[in-house]
Amino acid sequence: MAVDLVHCTDEQLAAEVARESSDGPAFVALVERFRARVWRICFRLLDNEQDAADAAQEVFLKLFLHRTRFAGRSRYTTWVHAIAVKTCLTMRRSRGRRKRHENLGSEAEWEARQPARPATPQGLGMDLLKMLETLDEEDRALLLLKYAEAYEYEELAAIFEISVSACKMRISRAREKLQSRFPES
């Protein structure tokens, strides 16, 4: 029986992609359905159009190659978002580390430099995204998805494979870190 690829659920579409052995209509429909969401995650986390395009392509390639691995333990959307976040974090770690170190220094270096700095925050002149760069990669991603993309705690917890209370705690601690580093922001 043919499945209506436009109106079927995400899980039905994923099952149809898994049945296909080629880049066929179900995969085209899947890309169409998730393109905007995957792109937003990649663009938010990588903050660069070229890297975001590479990462989004990588995400869809992984969805295609691992199309039979979706076990249905979570919603398909959550699974896709988790792949997108992990891909972006891996890409940032591999591509961005050197660049970020040149610009801001690592978190450890940043904290090591703190006592020598004056009490007035130097970060006031920095924009919000640069301030987030001072955080750990996962904390930065959590804050971006929570505040820029308005994800619920439950969804973030599923994406990052932590409990909801741990997710709330990490977001709260990340905010506290920012507050302590940039008190007048």
């Binding site: 880049d23 890309v31 295609f64 919000l128 905010r175």
Partner: protein, 74 residues
């Protein structure tokens, strides 16, 4: 601080590049071709190794026993 972080939602997210889909499907199809070529060679090597080994064992058995066993006709 909360208001400050909520300003993140105001930052613009650009549209994906116009050739995004074309590049993606090119990449997927290239990967598929590579995967199928690898699968083909792995399958072909296993198949030819099995047949060569069968012939070699038949030759060895014939050399030792002097009897030719045609398993296919039995």
């Amino acid at each position: 601080m909360k208001d400050f972080l909520e300003r993140l939602a105001d930052s613009e997210v650009r549209e994906p590049p116009p050739d995004f889909d074309r590049r993606l499907h090119q990449r997927v199809n290239r990967t598929l071709v590579v995967q199928q070529v690898i699968d083909f060679f792995i399958g072909a090597i296993a198949w030819s190794a099995a047949h060569f080994l069968r012939a070699a064992l038949g030759w060895l058995a014939f050399t030792i026993t002097g009897k030719f066993q045609d398993r296919d006709r039995r």
